[in-house]
Each structure stands twice: as structure tokens, then as C-alpha cells.
Subunit: 367 residues, 2 copies
């Protein structure tokens, strides 16, 4: 049951043009997946998200487990029906949220004990529980429960963690009953041999896709890029590779160059709510007084709904008045920006010009 | 230049079926007009507002004068272009905001001195200034600057105020230069002879439409309904009558019965942001725990976007998580509810059954 078709390897890089088949439809990769943490991409209707060209939408297992609870989503008919999105969906395992939000936590072989970030009540998440929740949520792609150690971690700690995450991956796979696609998570921190080991052992378990975890946890960009190569090198070419939680435009390009097919990040919607827009010349803060009488669109060449209809001055006005529409309009632009970026990336893989594209992009972006 | 065509008087009430012509298109009355205070109907795109069946959208002169300033809207090409709404628009005079928001204020013959509600700076609004601002904003209908006294006011105070508001109406009319339609405002509080006097004197000035101000300022419902009759009785039948700031469903029906053609109110969007939906059985607070596993739509018979796609349980989940989409979805439902109400009202004027419709509506609404 291969869901991924490799169409073309770029000549000069590890970049892959491909298609991923979900819910009976094929979607082009590399792709960017907008995040709908609480079963809603913040401030956008599902129709707006689709209009940005999106395919897969993410939702977060940890958040939905807490509120409204997986049983309610299940009774609603699953995530798609609950949130009115008929495109493909993906849920994460909850592992990253346990790592990043819940403190203190107690990691045992069985799973992780921690306290709710909402009401402080004691919670326990395990590989089995994560799968159980994700099966009830009903996304098309689900993720193995993993530990996501911080950076830096000692080699010793990371080695033990990788071993445990592999045992957790096996336990999750053993209890997984539905036809949802369960992806395995490569960990190993900045240690190449542990990344290799993690990848190779996961491949033995034969998942339909693999994700790369444990990046964007405090390491530098060069370290992160190396972590990617240290994982993708050992992953099969006929399965999709998904780099979790990465959405900086340059990181997306660098990730593709290292063989990544899928990305997700809250960045486009989060920076939007703070008044920021992605542009080809870096981030633009629309709150800046210089946009007060600037009746240009955010980017003239952008084809998003926001850039078709609204000026910088109008968006600034909305931001100054704390109007909800500001976040909505900027989120649409930012999500479209990243999806358009993946479209441009795909074109440049076709023409074997991705390195040149990257160099030009970075030059403009940092200008 | 009559903009209003009276199609039919209801047999048993003062209700009028009519059409109002704006921007070359005819719109049915009675109508409800959603409010976009800061040049945005809170949380909705203009397309969403249109999909609710809306015709005219309001914006507030006082707010836009403060932020971003009328000159910026003018430079943007006017309100329609600034906020991306190609349907008809209306701005109020700023008088009500000066009355309700700005304290203290000093009312002189010349105009009103008061302090900004945003930064405390000294401001001065006069009939001439209000027209000047509204001409720069560029709505299709604009409103005379009036004093909106509180309730109760003494007869003496109200008499002087009405006289001054009439002098202000004349001053505003004298400086008005554009082809925007300037409406006069009937004041007079709860005093029938002052309402009559205000209406008759305004009619002498021959405005293309008349609004009824000074309601919903603390008086009871019966007093308000009487204020309406005391004004509409003396207004010409070939001009539209607009009851400002009224959006309670029952008040809309009672207003129509007393000869009102146009209504506006922030109520549908304001209660939405607090989790409330209009229904035919009264307001529904979606935050209530009883909707946790309620997978029905807000109202099964409602044809709005929200009721087509989302359950009470999902909206409650969004509210519990403070998600922006909750306000958006509830606002769409509530605006559609009031617009659908005016559609039902129009049908019942056609069939001369409005009193029966009112009685049934109230019985269900208060059940």
C-alpha cells in the first residue's frame, strides 16, 4: 500500500518531485501543510484554507485530547466532519506538545506522566494511548508517539531515548487497527549514527511514511540541516518524508534539497496574528507607521485573496483597531506564500534549477 | 431624486413594502444593515456579509475619523475600495458615539467639544465637520449631525436640543456638496409634540430619507415603540425611514409595524463574540455545557453557512478554546437570522399577515 509516487529526483540535490495519494486523490509534493491545532486553522474557514491551495491540514492530538476530547470528535463523525474539511488530514502524536508544553514530566518505559497545561490535572500519554486517540480523531495520516528530547542532549541520553522511541513505535504499530496511515518518527538529535540507527530500525518496521522529529528545538540552522540529511539518507525512496514543525521559507527550501516532501508549521498563522506578512524581501510588519498611507498590496505579484483585494494601509488600520479580520487576511497571505513557495520549488525540481532558485530566494529574502 | 419606491402598505399596520435604489441597484425594504464600525464587520470578509443576504453595510464616522482618519480613507479611494465592499454603504454622523462614548462633553451651538476615547486628546465635532468627514469617507448614504440626549431628559432640555439639532441639520445640508444621500434625524425623546415638530421641520428641509434617533437610550420598549409612531406619522410616504441602532428581532418587527424601512445594529456580531446565537426560541448560549455533545446545527431550518456545515458541539469547542472562528461562525448565523427575519417580514406584508406573524414569532421567541 504505497501512497507515495516518486516522479523525479533533482539532478543536483536530494530534492524529490512526487505525489502522495490520500482519500482517493493525488497531491503534489513537496507540500506545505497548514496547522489547525484545535481543529481550526486559526481565523480561517476551511474554504479559505483550500483557496490557499492547501492539501493536507494538520490537527494536534494533545490539544484535541484535552478539548473537546477524542470521544466527542469521534461521536461527531471524526475530525473531517467535526471541522468541515473534506480534504486530507494529519494528526501528530502529542509527543512534541508533551515535550514543549508540559512541565514537569516523568518519562517512563510505559509512557509519559505530566500535568495538563489547561487545568493542571494529571495526565498520562503512551504509544498505545496516542494511537487510540488518533484513531478516534480519524485523520488520514497519524504519527507514532515519540520522545522529543531537548537540544543539546548528551549522547547517552539520546541513545536511550532513541531506543525507547523505537520500542514505542513498535508498540504503537502493534495496537494500530484502522486503515489510517501510521508514520514512524526518526529521532537521534544531532548525532549522525543515532539518526542513522533510528531511521534504519524504523524502516525495518515498514511504515508507509517517515517523519523527522527533534528539529527546531534550539539547535542552529546548520545543525538542523545536517540532522535532516542524517535521517533522509537512510529512508526508502518510495515513502514520503515529513519534516515536522518547520515553516521558515528558507528552511523549507533547504529541507527539500535534503529530500523532504512534507512540511507543517504554525508560523504563517502565528506571525499573522502579530501583524507580520511573509514577503520575498523578508517579513513585513504591517503595524509599522510607514504603511499608514501605503495603498499597495502586501506583494503585488501575490495571487492570494488578501493581495487581490486589500491594501497595506487597510490591514494596518485593522491591526491598529485590533480587528479580527487583520489576522485572517494576513494568515491567508502567509499560508498562500508558503504553498506558492512549494509550487515554485516543484517547478525548479522539474527544471533542475533548485540551487539557483534557493540562492536567488535567499538573496532577495535577506536583502 | 427619489430613491424610495413604496410598493405596498400592509392592510392592518403601518408596515411598508418598498425598494430603495442605490448605486444603480434596487434593494428590498424593510431591510437590516450589518454594522462595520471600523470599516469591517467584525470577523467577517465582505463576501461573507454578502452571502448573508446583506445590502447596505454601515460604518461609523466617529471611529473612522479617529482611526485611520478620513483623509486616509479618501486617499484609498473611499470606504468601498478601502474595505473591499462594492455594495451600498452608509455612515452615521458621529453624534451617537459622542453621546454614548465621549465623557465629559461640552455641547455648544457651534458643535460638541469632547475628549478622544482612544488617546484623550481634545476633539471637536460640528455639523459641518461631520459632513466633511462623511464626504471624504464616501458612503452612499450619510447622516446629519445631531444631538442624542439621554433618557429621561426634561421637556425644556429636549425642546432646546431639538431646535439646535434642526439648526445643525440645516447647517449640514448647506455645506453638503457631493451626490451622497444626506438623511435628516428626527429627535424629540419621548415627547410626542417634539417628535412631531422635529419630523415636520426636517421634512421642510426635504431630505431624501429620514432616520429616527434617540431610541435605545434607556427608555422601555413601549416608550420606544411610541417614539417611532410619533415620528413616522409625520414623515412623507415617498422617503425611506431608518430606525438607528435597533436590532433586537422583536423590535425590528414592531418597528416595521410602525412604518420603519431600515434597521442597523451591532447586536448580531456583539452577542456572537460572547457565544450567543439568535434562534426562533430566543438566544442560545453556545458556551453552555449542554451543547458539548450536541451535533445538531444551531437551527436545522436555517440556511446560513454556519448551519449548513457546523454543529453546536463544534462551535462550543471553538468558544472553549477562544478560537476566532467561533465569533465568525456565530456572526454569520446572527446576521443571516436578522436578514432572514426581514425577508419573512416582507412576505407577511405582501400577504397582510404581519400581526399574526409577530404574535407567532414572539410566542416562539419567548417560549
Amino acid at each position: 500500500m504505497d501512497i507515495y509516487t516518486l516522479i523525479k529526483n533533482e539532478k543536483d540535490t536530494g530534492a524529490r518531485l512526487g505525489k502522495i495519494k490520500l482519500r482517493g486523490k493525488e497531491y503534489d509534493t513537496p507540500m506545505f501543510m497548514p496547522v489547525g491545532t484545535q481543529a481550526t486553522v486559526k481565523g480561517l474557514t476551511p474554504e479559505m484554507v483550500k483557496e490557499c491551495g492547501s492539501a493536507i491540514i494538520l490537527a494536534n492530538t494533545y490539544h484535541l485530547w484535552e478539548r473537546p476530547g477524542e470521544d466527542i470528535v469521534y461521536k461527531a463523525g471524526g475530525l473531517h466532519k467535526f471541522m468541515n474539511y473534506d480534504g486530507p488530514m494529519l494528526t501528530d502524536s502529542g509527543g512534541f506538545q508533551v515535550f514543549s508544553l508540559a512541565k514537569p514530566k516523568d518519562i517512563t518505559e510505559e509512557g509519559v506522566h505530566f500535568k495538563s497545561t489547561i487545568d493542571g490535572k494529571k495526565l498520562f500519554l503512551s504509544p498505545e494511548k496516542s494511537i487510540e486517540i488518533q484513531e478516534k480523531l480519524g485523520a488520514d495520516i497519524i504519527i507514532s508517539f515519540d520522545e522529543c528530547p531537548g537540544y543539546p542532549s548528551t549522547y547517552e541520553y539520546m541513545k536511550n531515548s532513541v531506543e525507547r522511541t523505537l520500542r514505542w513505535a513498535k508498540r504503537g504499530k502493534d495496537v494500530h487497527k484502522t486503515d489510517q496511515l501510521l508514520f514512524g518518527v526518526v529521532q537521534g538529535g544531532e548525532y549522525p549514527d543515532l539518526r542513522k540507527y533510528s531511521a534504519e530500525e524504523l524502516v525495518k518496521l515498514d511504515f508507509p511514511g517517515y517523519t523527522i522529529g527533534g528539529t527546531s528545538v534550539g539547535e542552529g540552522k546548520d545543525v538542523m540541516y545536517k540532522m535532516i540529511t542524517d535521517a533522509t539518507t537512510y529512508l526508502p525512496t518510495n515513502k514520503p518524508r515529513y519534516l515536522m514543525g518547520v515553516g521558515d521559507p528558507i528552511d523549507i527550501i533547504e529541507g527539500v534539497i535534503r529530500g523532504i516532501d512534507m512540511f507543517d508549521c504554525v508560523l504563517p498563522t502565528r506571525i499573522a496574528r502579530h501583524g507580520n506578512a511573509f514577503t520575498h524581501h523578508g517579513k513585513m510588519n504591517l503595524k509599522n507607521a510607514k504603511y499608514k498611507e501605503d495603498f499597495n498590496h502586501i506583494e503585488e505579484e501575490c495571487d492570494c485573496y488578501t493581495c487581490k483585494h486589500y491594501s497595506r494601509a487597510y490591514i494596518r488600520h485593522l491591526l491598529m483597531c485590533d480587528e479580527m479580520l487583520a489576522g485572517t487576511l494576513l494568515s491567508i497571505h502567509n499560508i498562500r506564500f508558503l504553498i506558492k513557495l512549494t509550487e515554485d520549488i516543484r517547478k525548479n525540481i522539474e527544471t533542475d534549477t533548485l540551487l539557483k532558485f534557493r540562492d536567488n530566494f535567499i538573496k532577495e529574502y535577506r536583502k
